[in-house]
């Protein structure tokens, strides 16, 4: 097969000045094994712009003190920075109130918080929780643990060969026993964008609350929790160009109000005696202990950054990369793309005939190309498609068609070595 006439000769036509954007990300200009870094593992975690690095650095340099605890100047500055970031995030996902924005360690903790606090009072023996077959382990295991504890049952909506959830099967699974539906807004290993609005509408007809795992959605598209009408939404800062170790759980106020606390400690209380503790108001009731203040500050700046580029531009550029990448990879003999949903984010998982993803990843690394290899924390998806692992390239707004060309060239080289 002749690959010299790559289909990628036409330029990606978007209104993004990618070179200018890349200049904001210091890490992207580094060499790996003597080659330019092509970072194509954004679904696992994305890189940070200088603006975010400066914000966290500046916070520690000039603003740091513990929050909600001191009358002195710095404590007030830090508290203001923290609470102001909460307001920014409230606007960012269009929550009705800042009381609905809870800072957690990440998506994983957001889901665990709901499973633990909501599950404790609302799930009993014989009840059911519904998830889909494409969930990340972090949207499986907390529900499994809850079901085990409560003697409840975990129901799984199957997916089709394209990696799309089978909606009719969800309809069949819903019953009066269903206490919650939890699903990914966008799948990390398949890229599938789920019809979450339809799911929520259906669930609400049966008065079932819905939790959306937004870890993969927030980096790619505008999320409006009121428009979605979801009951819980959670995402991680590190996938949306912010610092690691911080994330957001959104919950509808009326639900959060009724839920018991998640962890006990400082900040989540109003008054404590050895006999009785009165819990603090929302959102503080769910934020025990000193939080990652610098992380929150950095996340707010990351959101500013994303919004300054604009979701329309991001979506357009990433979809163009997805299209180019899909076409180019499909031309490689023996390469099979896993996850071919009609609505997809810029994630391409694939299997190459007889070549293990680890070997592929090792060769690509040598060319400076970073891709994810493995099961992507979605072992049930791997089982569904009968592969032990896949190689996954996931694109951000700072990726280019040249990087896709390099990926394709690298894969052709791997094929030659293993043929």
């Amino acid at each position: 097969m002749d690959y010299s006439g790559s289909i990628l000769q036409t330029d990606v036509m978007t209104s993004l000045d990618v070179e200018k954007i890349r200049a904001d990300f210091p890490i992207l200009s580094q060499k790996v094994h003597g080659k330019d870094l092509a970072f194509l593992d954004n679904a696992a975690s994305s890189q940070k712009p200088q603006q975010v690095l400066d914000a966290t650095n500046n916070y520690y340099k000039t603003q740091h003190a513990n929050i909600h605890r001191g009358v002195y100047h710095l404590s007030q500055v830090a508290t203001f920075a923290y609470e102001n970031s909460r307001k920014k995030i409230q606007k960012f996902i269009n929550a009705a109130s800042e009381k609905e924005i809870i800072f957690v360690r990440g998506t994983t903790e957001g889901i665990n918080l709901v499973a633990s606090s909501y599950g404790k009072d609302n799930v009993k023996a014989g009840d059911e929780i519904i998830i889909t077959h494409m969930e990340h382990h972090s949207n499986i295991v907390p529900w499994q643990m809850l079901c085990k504890e409560k003697d409840a049952k975990l129901q799984v909506v199957p997916i089709n060969d394209d990696g799309e959830m089978i909606f009719e099967e969800l309809e069949k699974l819903i019953s009066e026993k269903t206490k919650l539906i939890a699903l990914a807004h966008i799948s990390n290993s398949l890229g599938t964008i789920n019809p979450v609005k339809d799911v929520i509408e259906l669930a609400h007809q049966h008065n079932i609350p819905v939790l959306l795992d937004g870890a993969q959605a927030v980096p790619h598209e505008k999320v409006d929790v009121q428009e979605l009408d979801c009951d819980f939404y959670t995402f991680s800062s590190h996938k949306v160009y912010g610092p690691t170790g911080i994330g957001v759980l959104y919950g509808k106020e009326e639900l959060l109000e009724k839920m018991g606390p998640y962890q006990g400690g400082g900040d989540m209380i109003k008054s404590v005696t050895f006999e009785k503790t009165t819990y603090n108001d929302l959102p503080h009731k769910f934020e025990a202990g000193t939080p990652d203040i610098a992380g929150v500050v950095g996340l707010a700046v990351a959101i500013d950054y994303v919004e300054s580029i604009g979701y329309d531009n991001i979506f357009q550029h990433e979809q163009e990369l997805l299209k180019c990448g899909t076409e180019a990879l499909s031309q490689i003999d023996g390469l099979k793309i896993i996850g071919t949903a009609k609505n997809k984010a810029s994630v391409i998982s694939f299997d190459m005939d007889g070549i293990h993803p680890h070997d592929i990843g090792q060769f690509l690394d040598n060319d400076g190309i970073a891709v994810r290899t493995g099961h992507h924390c979605t072992q049930p998806v791997m089982d569904r498609f009968n592969v032990p692992a896949t190689t996954r390239a996931s694109f951000s707004f700072y990726n280019t068609k040249e990087e896709i060309d390099r990926l394709v060239a690298g894969l052709i080289k791997v094929k030659e070595v293993f043929s």
Partner: protein, 152 residues
């Protein structure tokens, strides 16, 4: 860098990956164990037929990367007919070879073809791939029926 990669994926390794030796279920085995490397999704079954102090026959089956498959294939080729004492010594030598410091020259005397795997030590993440078969074989000899995991 390419040199390290070439060192890792030598012809012998590519060959054993493509046509693994002793790749079968050993019908009359008396030792067996399964091994897992959850990080990569690798899985291997190792079968042995031991008579007295000698490995009369050894075979494997499984899914894995080129390094883990080639390592299993080379291991079975090397161990057939060996005494259990020799096997133990080889295991220790092999282990030392793949885990030695980068600037260290390990003693590879008697390792024979197994020496082609010395390249993995430059790639710390791949050491587990190379050792999975050996740990599983060891567990089989101890007749450990439990699943062996590289993550313990």
């Amino acid at each position: 860098m390419m040199d390290d990669l070439q060192e890792l994926y030598q012809e012998v390794i590519l060959d054993h990956n493509k046509s693994p030796r002793n790749y079968e279920v050993l019908a009359n085995h008396n030792h067996f164990a399964e091994g897992d490397n959850p990080l990569c999704g690798d899985h291997i079954d190792v079968y042995l037929k031991v008579e007295g102090n000698t490995i009369k026959d050894i075979a494997f089956q499984g899914k894995g990367c080129a390094i883990s498959k080639a390592s299993a294939s080379l291991m079975t080729s090397e161990l057939k007919g060996r005494s259990l004492t020799e096997t133990k010594e080889l295991f220790e030598k092999f282990h030392k070879m793949v885990t030695s410091e980068i600037d260290e020259t390990p003693d590879m005397d008697g390792l024979g073809k197994l020496a082609v795997l010395s390249g993995v030590k430059v790639f710390p993440l791949r050491i587990k791939c190379a050792s999975l078969a050996w740990h599983t074989m060891n567990a089989a000899l101890e007749n450990n029926k439990e699943l062996i995991s590289t993550e313990d």
